[in-house]
Symmetry: C2
Subunit: 233 residues, 2 copies
Amino acid sequence: MCLNFYIYTNTDNMQTSTTEDYLKAIFKLSGIYKKGVSTNSIAEELSTKASSVSDMVKKLSEKKLVDYVKYQGTTLTKEGENIALKVIRKHRLWEVFLVEKLKFGWDEIHEIAEQLEHIKSPKLIDKLDAHLGFPKKDPHGDPIPDKNGLFPTIKKLKLNELKIGEKAILTGVSEDSKDFLSYLDTIGLKLGSSIEVLDYFKFDKSLKVKINNRSDLTFSDLVANNLNISKEN
Amino acid sequence: MCLNFYIYTNTDNMQTSTTEDYLKAIFKLSGIYKKGVSTNSIAEELSTKASSVSDMVKKLSEKKLVDYVKYQGTTLTKEGENIALKVIRKHRLWEVFLVEKLKFGWDEIHEIAEQLEHIKSPKLIDKLDAHLGFPKKDPHGDPIPDKNGLFPTIKKLKLNELKIGEKAILTGVSEDSKDFLSYLDTIGLKLGSSIEVLDYFKFDKSLKVKINNRSDLTFSDLVANNLNISKEN
DNA sequence: AAAAATTTTTAGACAACACTAAAAAATTTG
DNA sequence: CAAATTTTTTAGTGTTGTCTAAAAATTTTT
Ligand SMILES: [Mn+2]
Ligand SMILES: [Mn+2]
Ligand SMILES: [Mn+2]
Ligand SMILES: [Mn+2]
């Protein structure tokens, strides 16, 4: 009887799309700040207010999805991380679908995937995965977690870490906004493009680069910081 | 100034998935009862309580999506009907996707489509439509409204309207539940199957039928009433 | 280490939706 | 047509998630 009570406690652990978005945001921010994630940073990531976040992390903590101590930030529990990884898997697989099958541009898919990632079905995602041929990366170069939430941790090298004269291949982007991605489209930069650093200006940290051995142009540090690369040779 | 006010009034007419489901339910029920749709019937269709429906139709009426007079039932306005038809278009296109592309059975798709139909994106559905080759019917034989909400009104003939000796082709089903559809699967009945009425039992209105010129079996009136057919010859 | 600035939490409201119980209206029945 | 039954609405609550304003804690500055 007492055992029963224990077992069935917390069994109704189905998430709303809101709680899924919170867990995803905390997961993303955990990769950046290694300590507990700050209330303000979650609020900014989700375009909401700190007071709303404060309320929510308290509730997530009751559900044992996060560890939260007042004034000391939030970290995911194993359970919370599992849920976040499942949502990220769904988000990235749907993004592949939108680009590969429906022919959307990589700059148009984020908002749609933000909705599709919350569709609940035990079978749907694995069927989608198979339909897409078990892709390993999404259209932005991000790795897709497998059924068990595992994916290779690729050390991300940013374009602004290169020295003058070095060459690299674009392997991913750290920013999914339409503004950023359609700018890359207009300059002809896509995953796999080659980038050579021609010059570096100390004043504003901007870079003069040559892309695809053709056009010369200048990247601000902010742009360069959102371009993930792997060094050539 | 006054004009401005008028124009921008009611401009924020974005629906929640709840209101979309209400509008869809009212549309479906309007086809059956030609008068105003009763509060109780909406409640039953949506598995909710009459008091909740009473609240909601009042709100939908304020948004000019339904006409509602206390104690006299609810009907869709033109605007409400347009929204309902868009949701139905999305539901049926996603069902085609799930069966044709992801290889789901027709008995597994209803609940998933019930979620997918609420995804908001101006471009998504037309791209999906193109990807699927502009299908005209969903996996249950229901017509798919076009971009403008138009679809042919097919007069539905039900199996229990046939006389002994008549033959027909299964063109659709009026019931989407897994229980019903997987029963049809086990007896090998699918869209396009031929059905011949061998006998009719007055007592319970059940029918003895031969399907695909092979097996003989008996259908209750309830089953026969959910099988849509077109007469052969 | 006190003052100032920033971050975080609490308090109090609100909107959307759902529910139960009870009241009111409409319909069916005898 | 009055009584009984059914349908519908209202009243009062609860839950989830959001917000603003104000209080409290923490961190930074001087
Ligand atoms: Mn989302
Ligand atoms: Mn992505
Ligand atoms: Mn739905
Ligand atoms: Mn259908």
